[in-house]
Symmetry: C2
Subunit: 419 residues, 2 copies
């Protein structure tokens, strides 16, 4: 059986590599036609998608999946429409492939520039959200990459049904169906094989919980674009505007609790703590947010004590850790020690401290006077995102179409030789 | 002992991480001052450098190192002067750190841009060339990265002497000496430890032969920027200009034999083979280059037969493999099958075929009517290079200062919150 899975995955890899050559060279119109055709197929096959999805939901219930998981697994008329709409939005984005930057003449007489090209073959490993199948495939397709998709086994019927729509759409646009392949083996060993296909797969993108991402990064022989935690900070500086402080802090924590760009630890300059913390306390208590403070915080407001562990925790829940700091130096030091390098924001009116915070905080997104909740591909104008990277190499922060491409050098000469 | 090395390497990592925070925020002038100070120290300590180098040379001779290796190991007045000159050239380059690209207003009212930032800590693993110590340290320093350098044990005295100059120079400019650290343990286990320091080192760059690079990539838990082979191709198209074909092919192969951008396999369109191959034959025979041809080539010129293995070989020697192909399609297919994705050049006057070659050949450098020998950081205007990457992620082709940096998002608001 293990041997069969090995052969099966190798074949997917070989086919994907072959399809990627075709896909790298096709014109934008063909890719956009395919995206629209896939969207049409999804709408036209709404009933089939729901029937197949019902099988997964039933099995999921029998298996005892909790309501949140069943919710993410469910396909409805509305979610199918949304999937189709997402594909049309990606079709409307500019195609980054083939663009040549900075074509310059060199002293030797040759012209040198860089052309944006697809990465090649992308492996996506995700949990039981069938909409990721369409969404990830579309971003990879638009950026000229072939994709191998491996979704959670709980969504296998739904994923296969979505995959059928994708393949019909590709065919209608005249593209090889191997541009997007769904792994149909639910055995966990298939993931292991995918992570070892380094001759055929150029990058792995895991999407899901921390457990999945850690497992994938540890086992992969292929480079991984990933995001682990989102331990995001807001720092209210001595020179912060009070209204902006309250507004941005409240929004960063409360606009949504379960997202990676949600505020988890608030830092407040000592000089402003007794003025601002009581007002924040009222706002958050009314909202039902539990506050955990350092000793100085506890002297100002009524809250539970924060321990060392709190500074290291991504709550993903209505809980906020608060620490009073002496100044910007201590704030930056705390952030660069405990942050997961996702997103941090300073609230200040002072330009010098803004400059320092922007330069010295080593995170994927660094903000001034703005909610951490803005750290998102749509809000950054990328049109869509395949994920948010907390790595430094290749892509950092929200990853859109550009993050799924690379640059190769192009050189134009006229018989030029090196002296 | 193994435990000691572990502790020693961890300490280097912790110190490097700390120094990298300082280095990321200093102004260009400080970094340039340090580079000039290091250059001055190298010149002032020429005699010491030569004395220490003599110890390595003596030990190397005793150990039976061949002449080529001893040659690479040797430091002379001229090579020390050249090292210093290299540092001054890097000081003169523009500093990429802190530059903000494309700062745009979004519909929400926030401004979003990307700031170029150092990667953090870079580990360089190289063989017995002491000049790499200064060169690699300088590129990393200028791009704001702290460095841990691990050179070949045969060059340990030389490397330590160069490192002393570097540290004196850093000190003179007011920078922490931990910005550049040389691993002083010659035990091979130190390399293994370095490759596991993933909390403290952001990227590993191996410089040296294929064996070293393969070992490093296989063992590293840290992302690696590397280049493996250089199996480079020239394709002489139906519509090639004959003079350009001869000139570029001859230069690509013969200008230097041992470099990674040297031509290894020549592809010739069938329609031009009988006209061009005999002239190339005369040129190459006179130069002492051995030709190995496919069957069709053998019918046209006197040469030894090329086997499947020849298409997969980087000779790094005066040997050239030649294959006659039907057309551009076959040429691209051969290249995308056998190339190491380093550098390929088409010789043609036809714009349509140029467009196809540029788009469809999947290599780090793709050229038209230019010698493959141009694939080089200096020739591309990067000012200097730390190596040539045949990877696709992050950096592809010659890697200069930009390749040693990353982009983080910066967001400017004025109390903006997400709706």
């Amino acid at each position: 059986m293990k041997q069969d899975i090995n052969v099966y995955m190798q074949e997917l890899g070989i086919k994907a590599r072959k399809a990627s050559s075709t896909l790298a060279a096709v014109e934008s119109k063909t890719k956009n036609d395919a995206l629209h055709a896939i969207a049409d197929k999804l709408i036209a096959n709404t009933e089939t998608l729901k029937t197949e999805n019902a099988k997964d939901l039933e099995a999921g219930k029998a298996k005892g999946l909790d309501n949140a998981m069943l919710d993410r697994l469910a396909l409805t008329d509305a979610s199918i429409k949304q999937m189709a709409e997402g594909l049309r939005q990606i079709a409307a984005l500019a195609d980054p492939v083939g663009e040549i930057n900075d074509l310059n003449y060199m002293p030797s007489g040759i012209q040198v520039g860089q052309m944006r090209v697809p990465l090649g073959v992308i492996g996506i490993i995700y949990e039981s959200r069938p909409n990721v199948t369409a969404d990830a495939a579309a971003l990879c397709l638009k950026s000229g990459n072939a994709t191998i998709l491996r979704g959670g086994s709980e969504a296998i019927h739904s994923n296969k049904a979505v995959a059928q729509c994708i393949q019909d759409g590709l065919k209608e646009a005249g593209l090889p169906s191997e541009c997007v392949q769904v792994v149909e083996v639910t055995d966990r060993e298939a993931v292991g094989e995918l992570l070892r296909l380094k001759d055929y797969v150029d990058v792995i993108i895991p999407r899901g919980g921390k457990g999945l991402i850690e497992r994938v990064s540890n086992d992969s022989l292929i480079p991984v674009i990933k995001h682990l935690d989102g331990i995001c900070h807001v720092y209210i500086d001595d020179d912060a505007d009070k209204e902006k402080s309250l507004k941005v802090t409240f929004n960063s924590k409360s606009q949504r609790y379960g997202t990676c760009n949600t505020l988890e630890t608030l830092l407040v300059a000592k000089s402003r703590a007794s003025e601002i913390l009581p007002e924040l306390h009222s706002l958050f208590v009314e909202e039902g947010v539990e506050l955990r403070g350092c000793e100085q915080t506890q002297q100002i407001i009524d809250c539970s004590p924060a321990s060392e562990e709190d500074w290291q925790t991504e709550y993903l829940a209505p809980i906020l850790a608060i620490k009073v700091v002496a100044d910007l130096d201590e704030a930056i030091q705390h952030i660069n020690t405990y942050s997961s390098q996702h997103t941090e924001s300073i609230i200040t009116q002072d330009i010098t401290k803004t400059r320092r915070f922007m330069r010295e905080v080593d995170s994927a997104s660094v903000m001034v006077n703005a909610s951490t909740r803005f750290a998102d591909g749509f809000e950054y104008g990328l049109g869509a995102e395949i994920g948010i990277s907390t790595d430094k190499l290749h892509a950092r922060g929200p990853v859109g179409l550009i993050g799924l491409t690379s640059l190769k050098y192009v050189v134009f000469g006229d018989g030029h030789i090196r002296q």
